[in-house]
Assembly symmetry: C4
């Protein structure tokens, strides 16, 4: 394997084609031949390995969905490469491991009261999609928020109050006075993209002057009203999956381009963009990107994103910075999913299981227990 | 014991009559005298054993409900019969054990997203029977589906959204455009057989061109409109219990005849027929029949069938073939029931317990743990 | 201690008075002085012991609430009394222990389907009391019933379908044709005593010709219409607590009189009367009384009786006789309560915990595990 | 460290200022210099320690939120101070430990029925805040109450009956006759402060002549109608958090003043005031104050107070005195929170987790198990 910077051609390309026709196990050393470490290789001849044994550290290529077909299962081996050299190298890309996340956790003062942990509002819910708010609210409550209110259409009132008794509900029109009470607003789960929803989102963006979390249909509403993007309060957090990202910022030719576009937009808009995927990328306005290391494909299930919105909103409410809330939030979310999978399996888990495992995830980070994975 | 092909008569019949009057424990060797191995023996003189110790492999007779009165508890002993001989014998009948099911499981790609696991619709629910949809939807979510929507009458909207937050609901009339979004449709739980329900089923059959799962009242609606049967998309899955089967395809004189009728209909209609019972038979269009080996009589409780519908629908959504989804689905369902019985007992278990044990059932198959039974 | 048959008087009475003024621990041997073994002693001078160490077997007096003030904690010691003698004595009173209950359990046939376990109806629920039906229905499902329908007012429809998805609901007026579908009817939980409820109960009594379970407000309705009592189908089961019993059959001067009245009424009406208390008495039409040995004062909490109704109804549905259903039902109910108390404490348990422990109670009986107590 | 009674000044104050600028770990011995043991020190120069190692017993100062910034983590060391001397000292302030609470527990009579454990009413609930009643009712049920009814607006009826089946609901206007049925009334969770709610509270205060529990919005209604305070039945229990206390009795300059004001008001009004905080103070009419020793900052979350209201109401219903109910209630509440935190973490726990841990908390007290902390 090599990590070159130009496409493989000629006899090497023919060899790759030949290798890719085999039914044998293909093990690539360091990187599959033809795969670039730090830029997209899509369209080039690349070995499709079943396993990749790489050296020293993760390469960017390993973190992108488009390359899983080439790398197969990746293992990074410590071969004694100079650590000092690696640390001199500057890169915007780092992987968030448990030890980084542990440094983020804020200890709780003994005499703290619920006012110390913020007053969060989550806005969303619509016809047939109130469950998204049930999930988001429940996750927010398991993230340490002090007080939680959900803003929902009247038809969701009984649903939310039955399923999430710890949350209060508002079904009336939001006013600027109401908004001022809240420490943070998360918006989007199950909200739909009706003109009325768009109007509500606009109202919140224009009247709430603290960082928000914008997810799901709130992102889709933004995509329909791109002129609102510059109005977002600095350090707001956008949490798109690839399709929502595309609606918002246009399409990309490959995962590397999309990542670069996210980096550009995070900087331009002064927001944190959480680009969701297996290695969710927390893209910061300062140009740095933190790839998350927890989670599993069992979490690719309806409602999983709503849970993340609730978590990040709950963390912001407690006074975590947007960078901290995004990094800690995606790590907790993935770790809770990993814990849920040990009991319910990847296939058998549902989004609610992630919520129920959040307590164990907090304890695993705080008490430095062995990872669930 | 013998496995002859003609009814026992004369002195042998008299001996059987005598044996059946005893209060002693009756142990049959290989098969109870008078019981045919591969055809129905109903009406003939047959020994009623308390235990049957059989040799080499299960006989078809042991898998049919009508013969439990004769065989009592069956145990199949390995007496060193030639395996090569057994494998040369061709039979359409096989028993699905864990090792077969393990080969069916599709590993999940690390970078998979919810779109990779399908977008399922389950249609059903009616006055007083919304719970059937709660169970079916919850089971579908624990089967690995990516996204789930339920189509229900408006009166069920709050119930479903409160009890199953991960599922979205549709209460409006289905349109061809709506149907095209879905990877698979499961229909029937709690649906009733009103003219309106029949109309909806017809609409779905005529406008959805991928395999469906048809259960419960959807089967009963089909029974009222047998001319729709040929319109079923190839490889759709019907999941009747014996009474539903009878309504659909007419009555049979015995279990063997019913099985043969199912084999004929599966072939004619090019559908998979899951004939439910203790050894649920997955009857394939190609003439093969796979008897399931998991499950227990604690699962003979309201809602258990709705759970199965949800599971098979969820598996189809993920890209399992109809054969795979039916075989894996009935196996998972039964295994989850066996696991539930270890905690809740056969008498004490309810259908919801089967759902809650699905995660453990997946893990038991994937990790090759010892069976719950 | 003595077990005489006339009140203590004179110097002995004075001695008892003196003893009862002490603050010392008072230990009675065999029985507290002045307490009759088999008839009421209320009003007489009786020693108030803190502990009673009795010999050979329980006396009737120990099973009645009115004597707890005299006996304190009772322990029965084996002092080698002639077992043969005890067995010659005829008494209508026996205590139901686990070994008796184990003999009642019906094994389940492997090929059983839900039709084999009956089709039960539970009727009840009213304004502000739908929860009683939630509890009763859930308990019925954990008792092995095949199919369960609840008949409730329309205002309870969403509540029941959300909380108990395995049960179907009927909110329409019951008809004779509807009633014929059911194997058993349990009536009363949360029903109220409005004229309309009384009319419904009358309709059921007159049109349903199999044994019923009559509890709570159904008993109170009966008390308002005592002329319906003789119309009860033979072997119906009444499950009054002492106050409901009094409304139905009049007051008694003491617990012994009440028990004797129950014995007379059970015989006259040819019904089973389950007289609820710490040692719940299953009073049979044949004159025998079976005192239950499970349960604890943590079960003295709202909804506990509704749970029992559901259990007994579920057992009748499966084909247990009225005697068996009553004896097994009260035993299971008490044992589940004992199991619940080990996790939730007597103070901390709620009626729903009893339901959730029913599976463990079944397993403890079937597998002959050590008792929870 | 010293425990003087006048502010530190001059060179000592300068030293304190210097110490407080350091980034080193600061350990105070006995008490941080400048901190008064028994009166407020706010505004004075005081050492801000990271740890305080104190001697013999807790000082009042350690129990007040305002001093956490000075003491840091407090540990009290046994240095062999004369116990006899300590016991001669009279102080109104004591800390409630498990051994005190164990003495309060009332054993349950075997033959007890639900009537023995009281008939409680909890009144509350309002638009968007029915969940507070769900939590309060559920907690009441896990505190040993015999029967529970909730008085709520009609819009909360389905929510309460679905989520808390063991409780009955009343949505009609309360009448004096209705009130007489109840052993105790708890009022406030989610009630709002509308004129109608105020009217209801007034009606209850004027027509219910047994001790009540007054919390949350009932306190806020009282604050709007201070002339009702003297009408409170003797030994009623008020459970304000600091802000509610301030609305009711005016502001204080510091925690010591607030405590003294609570002592004065408890005596004047002949009520128990439960001043909520990390060391919740149970302030008795007789001038004594019992500080609670259980609980953790994970309980600083919406709904936690509603849970406490339910617990204390449930204890009063069972016949605990107001002093006992308040002391035992706050201890149970905190202990349940400590147990919940071991599973769900402080950040991940929600108020419902406290309720679910109440059973374990009861068992830990009754069985004298090791504390969760």
């Amino acid at each position: 394997g090599t990590g070159l910077n130009r496409p493989v051609a000629g006899i090497h390309a023919a060899a790759i084609e030949h290798i890719n026709k085999t039914t044998c196990k293909v093990i690539s050393i360091d990187m599959p031949a033809g795969l670039f470490a730090n830029k997209s290789s899509i369209g080039n001849p690349i070995v499709k390995a079943t396993n990749t044994l790489s050296f020293g550290c993760y390469k960017l290529a390993f973190l992108l969905a488009e390359n899983e077909q080439f790398t197969g299962k990746v293992e990074v081996l410590n071969i004694g490469l100079s650590k000092a050299f690696a640390e001199k190298e500057t890169t915007p890309f780092t992987i968030t491991e448990k030890k980084e996340v542990q440094l983020l956790i804020k200890p709780r003062s003994n005499h703290a009261h619920k006012g110390n942990f913020g007053n969060a509002l989550v806005a969303g819910g619509g016809s047939g999609k109130m469950g998204a708010m049930v999930l988001s609210a429940s996750a927010c409550l398991r993230s340490g928020v002090g007080l939680l209110t959900v803003a929902i259409p009247p038809s969701g009132d009984n649903i939310l109050q039955t399923a999430v008794p710890e949350a209060m509900t508002i079904t009336a029109t939001l006013t600027p006075e109401l908004l001022q009470q809240f420490t943070v607003i998360g918006a989007g789960p199950g909200w739909g993209i009706s003109p009325n929803t768009q109007k509500q989102l606009q109202f919140i963006i224009e009247n709430f002057h603290k960082p928000m979390v914008i997810d799901a249909d709130a992102l889709n509403c933004l995509a329909l009203n791109k002129d609102w993007l510059p109005k977002l309060t600095a350090n707001s957090i956008l949490t798109p999956h690839p399709k929502e990202f595309e609606r918002l910022f246009g399409s990309s030719n490959n995962d590397v381009e999309r990542l670069e576009l996210a980096m550009q937009k995070a900087n331009e808009l002064n927001t944190v963009i959480v680009l969701k995927g297996h290695y969710t990328a927390v893209v910061l306005p300062d140009g740095n990107v933190h790839f998350n290391s927890t989670g599993n494909p069992g979490m690719a299930t309806g409602g999983s994103g709503d849970v993340l919105t609730g978590i990040i909103t709950g963390l912001l409410a407690q006074g975590y910075s947007s960078k901290e809330a995004a990094m800690l939030g995606v790590y907790l979310h993935g770790l809770a999913g990993d814990i849920a999978a040990t009991t319910h399996s990847q296939q058998g888990m549902r989004a609610g299981d992630i919520i129920n495992s959040l307590g164990s995830a907090w304890l695993e980070i705080i008490n430095n227990k062995k990872s669930a994975k």
